[in-house]
């Protein structure tokens, strides 16, 4: 069996499972947030259960519409606070957490081998720690709150084998964009995407999170990376007891529907052009694209490593006149560290606005929206029509290095060009 099959077998009390089989899995953790949570609470009440199945296994994180920008959002937050209080759930309120997919692993809610579901499609991020994690809807979240179980069809698996060393200013974001471009937005539909190879082994946890985060953008049920010493090092200071995960590896004879190889050594920065995440081109083929907004943040690329990279490029420079740059650290913890390291000062000196930890403009509901005919280059994960505001706006997805360089020049730019110009 591969790692995903092993986790699903254990969670459904079976010795083995095969793709296509339907299993009833025990859930280890359920995560919900301020935009999908209230509907889950309503469904939970309609189901008629009085208490959740296990209040220690449900985490509520307010992150999408924070701080509340409207009375409607404030009401949603109120609903979640009341529910968390009634059911004695852990809640990360405004100013106490940040983006759910950063808070979950950083606050010790993610363990290798666990089955984690969340009412957010980017829940697949926790595969970076060797967990089976996937997004579900609100009503299904309510069902999990009630029963602690969920059905899954055991997925077929695609294995990607990644080798080579990244060139300077080429990042895990470029790799995952390249993969989505090659495999397509439905290239892994219903399937598990397992990321392997020397490049993944040498990749930081932050980079692995970026990779697994975007597995859903090629339709994958989950993205997963075998946990290793780096995983242990990252998690052991964040959880009470780290389970022994030595056996959490895909067998040598594990079955894959498809094995795809990638070599990053000659890879250029990659750009997903409007309005599909698989409309990916190497930056040299993108041409002249003037921008109105540059956004560095989101569950895909709002981590310290991303902010450091952006700061390296923005240090001592100015955001081009007529362009606004937004920087949003993924969590309060990262926000604080960015302050300590002087990154925030670099951003503000450059003329960027640094906002409080939240999802920000990524999903077009809160701050930093786009007007018609405006263009944004963004480190986030989706460039669909209307995703970030106007349906006539254009969103290009890129790495934090490209977004920072583009903020300086006012058009989509390879970071090496900005640094060579010094």
């Amino acid at each position: 069996m591969n790692i995903t099959e092993k986790i699903l077998a254990k969670a459904s009390n079976k010795t083995s499972v095969t793709p296509g089989e339907i299993v009833d899995a025990n859930v280890d953790v359920l995560m919900t947030h301020d935009l999908t949570g209230p509907l889950a609470v309503e469904s939970f009440k309609k189901i008629g259960a009085e208490k959740v199945w296990d209040n220690k296994k449900i985490v509520v994180i307010l992150d999408h519409q924070i701080p509340a920008e409207s009375i409607k959002a404030a009401e949603l937050h109120k609903t979640m606070r009341q529910f968390a209080k009634e059911q004695k759930l852990r809640i990360y309120d405004v100013g106490r957490g940040g983006i759910c997919h950063q808070v979950m692993p950083d606050q010790g809610h993610v363990l290798p081998g666990a089955v984690i579901v969340g009412s957010d499609s980017h829940t697949c991020t926790y595969g970076a720690f060797g967990a089976f994690s996937t997004g579900i809807g609100s009503t299904e979240a309510a069902a999990v709150m009630t029963t602690g179980k969920i059905w899954f069809k055991v997925p077929q698996s695609i294995k990607t084998v990644v080798n080579g060393k990244f060139s300077k200013y080429v990042t895990p974001k470029d790799l995952i964009l390249n993969m989505i471009g090659k495999l397509g937005v439905d290239g892994a539909i219903y399937k598990s995407a397992e990321f392997t190879g020397s490049t993944i082994r040498e990749m930081s946890i932050s980079g692995r999170m970026t990779i697994c985060n975007m597995a859903v953008e090629m339709g994958a049920k989950n993205g997963i990376i075998e946990p290793d010493d780096l995983t242990r090092e990252y998690l052991q200071k964040r959880v009470n007891t780290l389970p022994d995960f030595a056996a959490l590896k895909s067998d040598k004879d594990a079955q894959y529907e498809q094995i795809v190889e990638f070599d990053v050594s000659k890879m250029e920065p990659q750009i997903a052009c409007p309005s599909s995440v698989d409309n990916v081109k190497p930056i040299s083929e993108v041409g002249d694209v003037p921008i109105d907004q540059a956004f560095i943040g989101s569950c895909t690329n709002g981590r310290l490593e991303d902010l450091r990279l952006a700061a390296q490029i923005l240090k001592g420079k100015k955001v081009k006149d007529g362009v606004r740059a937004l920087v949003i650290p993924a969590s309060q913890e990262i926000y604080k560290q960015a302050l300590t390291e002087g990154l925030t000062e670099i951003f503000t000196d450059a003329g960027a606005i640094v906002c409080g930890s939240a999802c920000g403009p990524c999903l077009g509901g809160h701050i930093g929206l786009l007007a018609a005919n405006e263009t944004c280059v963004s480190t986030s994960n989706r460039n669909f029509i209307g995703r970030m505001g106007s349906t006539q706006a254009n969103v290009y997805l890129a790495s934090p290095a490209v977004v920072a360089a583009s903020a300086v020049t006012g058009k989509i730019t390879n970071p090496t060009a900005v640094l060579e110009a010094q």
Partner: protein, 173 residues
């Protein structure tokens, strides 16, 4: 609200990769009334969609219908915009589950994009998965059959009603 297993309605056809942001943009996720959500269904692609759908339609999509976000508000918006059923070549998995869980029938059917044009009168049998184009000489296709436990969720009217029923009968849930 128990569901009928046979549905007849005119079709409205869309292409591949219809994502949840165009089905229901993020700015409407603060709305809680499903009828309010329904007023904005697919407006990013067709500002007249809600008007065209108001007497009941079958939505036909290409590959990867409903890709993107986990927002259950997307299938809810379709349901409350009088969409009776969605047939697509393939579905994004979260949308697919969400639709079933809120009692919106979804059928995967290879070749559906070629069989149907907007305006055609379509007949769907949820039990058998058979899809007929009444406007086109009753040409038919076989959609993927839903497993019995999923069919049960749908015929109960969604996951909430299904769980309520099971809790009432003291079934294992």
């Amino acid at each position: 609200m128990v569901m009928e297993s046979k549905i007849n309605a005119p079709a409205i056809k869309f292409g591949n990769n219809i994502d949840t942001d165009v089905i229901l943009p993020g700015k409407y996720l603060v709305l809680v009334d499903p009828y309010e959500l329904g007023k904005h269904a697919l407006e990013s692609l067709d500002t007249e969609f809600v008007n065209k759908a108001k007497n009941g339609v079958i939505l036909v999509g290409g590959k990867n219908f409903g890709c993107g976000s986990s927002r259950e508000q997307a299938p809810l918006a379709l349901k409350y915009a009088s969409v009776k059923c969605v047939i697509a070549e393939t579905f994004a998995r979260i949308f697919y589950r969400n639709a079933i869980n809120i009692g919106l029938p979804v059928i995967e059917c290879s070749g559906i994009s070629d069989l149907v044009e907007t305006g055609d009168e379509i007949s769907v049998d949820l039990e058998t998965g058979k899809i007929q184009n009444i406007s086109n000489g009753n040409k038919s296709l076989q959609g993927t059959n839903l497993p019995p436990f999923i069919m049960e969720i749908l015929t109960d009217g969604g996951l909430i009603e299904n769980l309520r029923k099971k809790m009432k009968s003291n079934d294992r849930i």
